[in-house]
């Protein structure tokens, strides 16, 4: 983690590369060419899916090659929107992803500050335990967690969908690292300025962690938005479906081929918001990834 500076814009990413050096251009061009080719291969499946989603189902049933020529239609998307529940599912996804994001930010920031800056009994032991939590795969506690939530009658509630994600230690780990990178003099200056520990956290340090908050927030949001397994077994009522589960539920028994275009439009529909979100927050995500791991 680099010192908490303002987030570097994505265009700054290539800082390390020698720029003005004389010589070495053909090689660079060949590499760039290969990379672009690979990027096209990378994009092909996505474009294929988008193209399929814009085709009439009946036409695709006759021949898949129909995808290469007109007519194209947005009927599949209209059909998705007509599935009235879809908006409810989006709302659910927003509530769950949003709630989880806010909760994670609050808990992780507090704990990150605590672990990074304050001393309390058993701090190091607790931190190691939390770190070990990083190694617990979600699937390993799925069964027990499901039983626990059954007893607590939390299934099919928003807390039931949000709470498990809050226990993930990643955010705490990230925020601890980030707080550690902030110069300690700031705390000390504030201590001399007669500020309480909470005030130092709230007024002095927290504003400096905004890039990390953005990062963690985006990752948490993405993860929650795309989660499939837990919502599938916890939010089992139609009105509690998240978008992923909901869209999966509309897939017809044994007749997928009838609705290939429709199916693809669902894929696009569920993926697009997140891709747009990604493009929007790209620069944060990029710095986030970099910041999160290295060092």
């Amino acid at each position: 983690m680099t010192a908490p500076a303002a987030p570097t814009p994505a265009s700054d990413v290539g800082r390390g590369a020698p720029s003005g050096m004389v010589g070495r251009t053909t090689g660079d061009r060949i590499i760039l060419g290969l990379t672009i080719a690979l990027a096209i291969v990378m994009m092909a499946p996505l474009l294929w899916v988008v193209a399929l989603s814009l085709k009439d189902n009946k036409e695709l049933m006759v021949s898949m090659n129909a995808v290469f020529h007109a007519p194209y239609t947005v009927q599949n998307y209209i059909n998705i929107l007509a599935t009235s529940s879809v908006f409810r599912w989006i709302l659910n996804s927003l509530v769950v992803a949003g709630g989880l994001t806010v909760g994670t930010l609050v808990l992780s920031s507090l704990a990150g500050y605590g672990f990074a800056r304050l001393n309390f009994p058993f701090r190091n032991v607790l931190f190691v335990i939390v770190l070990m939590g990083l190694a617990v795969p979600e699937q390993a506690v799925l069964i027990a967690r499901h039983q626990l939530f059954s007893w607590l009658k939390l299934h099919n509630t928003y807390p039931g969908l949000i709470l498990p994600g809050l226990s993930a230690p990643f955010g705490v780990f990230l925020m601890t690292q980030y707080f550690r990178a902030i110069p300690k003099e700031l705390d000390e200056a504030a201590l001399l300025d007669n500020a309480s520990r909470f005030k130092i956290f709230w007024k002095v340090l927290l504003p400096l962690t905004l890039p990390a908050q953005a990062t963690l927030g985006i990752f948490t949001f993405l993860g929650a938005w795309n989660d499939y397994l837990w919502p599938l077994i916890s939010g089992t009522k139609k009105e509690m479906y998240t978008l992923t589960v909901g869209i999966a539920s509309t897939q017809t028994n044994f007749a997928q081929s009838e609705g290939l275009g429709f199916l693809m439009s669902q894929a696009v529909f569920a993926g697009a918001p997140i891709l747009i979100l990604y493009l929007f927050f790209q620069k944060y995500i990029v710095t986030a990834v970099s910041g999160a791991a290295v060092r």
Binding site: V13, G14, T35, S63, M64, P121, S167, N226, I233
Partner: protein, 310 residues
């Protein structure tokens, strides 16, 4: 007596008060900051984990509390060929994906480590797939691999050839899942490598240029040693992640044909939700947990050694 009882706290308090002030002293009060998270962490991760271990010692289904059977579930796992196969599959998958992710990620990072607009766009392209959910990724790749009319078949069709049966040939399914996984996950290693590359000071490249180092020697002797730690980090992170393979296998092949693409997590899921054998599933979970813990310990040790030498 009473006097002593009354005065003794005061006596004790006096030196305590005079005790040197230390802003770094451990205080219970400071723990309040981590308490909220710890409560959630213990309640929703530690307790289920312990409960899972307890459960793994029971013959239990979803509807009854079950009966204690000791290590019987583990013995069953030990005797279950499919379980061993699942472990083998998981390792095979890790072997297929992790080196590829590390190497391709590094190549991409090297190619895109520049400040141009093109590089920025390409970085976006290569990272974009990482934000999609597994449901969508597998849907996309099923459509790519589907025999007859998939993207691959269409492309092969242009050359009058039939594509390999990626989803049904036992020798190829794991590779197919690996390809989809690499496509999906390549963004993260690339970004990690990019950030590592950017931490290499530009002037040592300039020094190398003045030292007459060609492209390969620059890579071999400057770049590679500089990102060694990131390389290890990427590998360990990916091992931990790819160990948890589930969605791709379940949705693309459902573990088939004949379990050759069934990873451990799918085994766990099926044990619990198809066979309703919670105890067995829990036992398998613990095995997975231990395997991942080992990987994570390696990571911890690596990063600690890093901390020492830094």
């Amino acid at each position: 007596m009473a006097d002593a009882a009354l005065s003794s706290p005061a006596n004790r308090a006096a030196p305590a008060k005079a005790r040197v002030q230390n802003v770094q002293a451990p205080l219970w009060r400071n723990g309040l900051f981590v308490l909220p998270f710890l409560v959630v962490f213990v309640a929703l991760l530690v307790v289920p984990l312990v409960w899972g271990i307890w459960l793994s010692l029971h013959k239990a289904d979803a509807f009854s509390s079950g009966r204690f059977v000791g290590f019987a579930n583990y013995v069953r796992l030990y005797n279950d060929k499919i379980f061993w196969q699942a472990i083998g599959n998981t390792f095979y998958f890790v072997l297929l994906t992790v080196p590829a992710l590390a190497v391709i990620g590094l190549m991409l990072a090297l190619a895109l480590n520049s400040r141009t607009r093109t590089a920025a766009v390409l970085r976006t392209v290569f990272f974009a797939s990482s934000v999609l959910s597994v449901t969508i990724v597998t849907l996309i790749w099923r459509i790519v691999f589907v025999p007859g009319f998939g993207l691959l078949a269409t492309v092969y069709g242009w050359f009058g050839a039939a594509p390999p049966a990626f989803l049904s040939d036992p020798d190829l399914v794991m590779i197919a899942i690996a390809i989809a996984t690499i496509w999906w996950c390549i963004g993260l290693p690339m970004m990690l490598f990019l950030s590592a590359l950017q931490q290499i000071p530009g002037d040592i490249y300039e020094a190398a240029a003045l030292d007459n180092a060609n492209r390969w020697r620059t890579f071999r002797y400057i770049t590679l040693p500089s990102i060694k730690r990131t390389f290890v980090l990427v590998v360990v992170i990916q091992i931990v992640l790819q160990f948890q393979l589930f969605g791709q296998a379940k949705l693309m092949t459902n573990g088939g044909p004949n379990n050759v693409s069934k990873p451990m997590v799918l085994y766990i899921y099926e044990a619990a939700f198809t066979k309703w054998d919670l105890g067995l599933g829990a036992a398998a979970s613990e095995v997975l947990f231990v395997l991942i813990l080992i990987a994570a310990m390696v990571q911890f040790l690596v990063s600690r050694r890093k901390g020492e030498s830094a």
